[in-house]
Symmetry: C2
Subunit: 267 residues, 2 copies
Amino acid sequence: MGGFTTNATIKSFGGRFLKLSHRAFQTRSTQNFTLFIPPGASVEKPAPLLIYLSDLTCSPDDVTEKGFLHAHAAPLGLALLYLDTSPRGLNLPGEHDAGDFGSGASFYINSTQQPWLMHYKMEAYITRELPALLAEYFKELDMSRPGRYKSVSAWAPIANPSLCPLAQKAFEGYLGEDREVWKKHDATELVKSWKGESLSCLIDVGTDDNFYKQGQLLPENFETAVKEADLEGLELRYQDGYDHSYFFISTFGADHVKHAAKALGLF
Amino acid sequence: MGGFTTNATIKSFGGRFLKLSHRAFQTRSTQNFTLFIPPGASVEKPAPLLIYLSDLTCSPDDVTEKGFLHAHAAPLGLALLYLDTSPRGLNLPGEHDAGDFGSGASFYINSTQQPWLMHYKMEAYITRELPALLAEYFKELDMSRPGRYKSVSAWAPIANPSLCPLAQKAFEGYLGEDREVWKKHDATELVKSWKGESLSCLIDVGTDDNFYKQGQLLPENFETAVKEADLEGLELRYQDGYDHSYFFISTFGADHVKHAAKALGLF
């Protein structure tokens, strides 16, 4: 179907869960993703879509197996798209040497640096190429709503990557040393000049998350920037005693799915 | 604690999820298990326990990550014990050669055959040794209720192992060739002479389960035996289009947890 290879079709919570792959134009590589189509979705009644960006080192299988988001999306009539963290099937120099750079760690940006720029065009792939293909070949998905995204939520995000060591390494590798360029991929920097509607943003951070405790996430900086920009619509929650695992993801999965479903007008 | 090694403590759905291992007396080997203690459980208010026997080839990590049973057990105040499928850390001849025999496939019985009988005493381990240890060292678990088990449920069980090729291989290896001995470990045979109370038994089978379609599960035989014994309390459900994966487990997880919780008097 449309160049997609269907690697598995599994019934889950009354809906269809598909494991798919295809040869992507933007990344000149194999891209894997998974898709949950809720029960009742059809050409006549297409389902809106929540797009999930997988965490560093993960594949789409991780969250689909451990996140348990289907359970909450099915009764709401919400479709779920789980993206992979990088192109696959390449062997660029050093690509597989570290968990925080190269394969499994694209940071979802368009690289401008050698040797990455020929393949690591994940921003173009996930914001334009793949949505257009899905709209063309999965008519039971509603890709027509005005505005590209209605809401955003995150578990333990790197909220200010320009200032966290883990992301600095990746940004330098993918984007070069000019830190002004980095700001275009940094939520805390971007929100300072946000001119759109009020935010619809939910963030959960576990207080026992080692990345948080090491200063790799910096949600406080994002919160401060939102306040200084006089924006509304951020809900930042610190979840006592939770770590960075999929048990944290699944515990609060219902809240994140409902957050998206509400913004998409499903209730 | 009590010879237990705590390999991880993770907060999940407000409760405590523990990865534990210990040196077991019955199996003369390392035994791994995981334990979910729901929020609110205490010495004063101990939680009753649902014991989950992992599927062939699996470790306790599989169901804890992919089954999503914590979500349903937490609000009901039910504790969950996830058992491993065999002793670990041994190297008996041929032990690791196949997925359906040896490591990962003890069938939870006491072997009487060489070379298994020195270690593969899983029935004694899971029905006596481990419950006694848990009662001693986890006072927030209620192990005191009369009768050993109050209910049973299963996803896609081998319901009549004496007649299915997959289990026949294992029974011959662990128990020898005498088929009368096999009957003591075959639910369909056992129910024929059941003299206890009415059953409290829930079984789900997916109609697209390859093991079911190949005649490895035989739930029909179990149902017939229950009817012929004039017993009540079996609910056997065929779930249309579901396979043998953890997506099947998680889809119906809420029903199985509630089935146990109800039998334990939690609602």
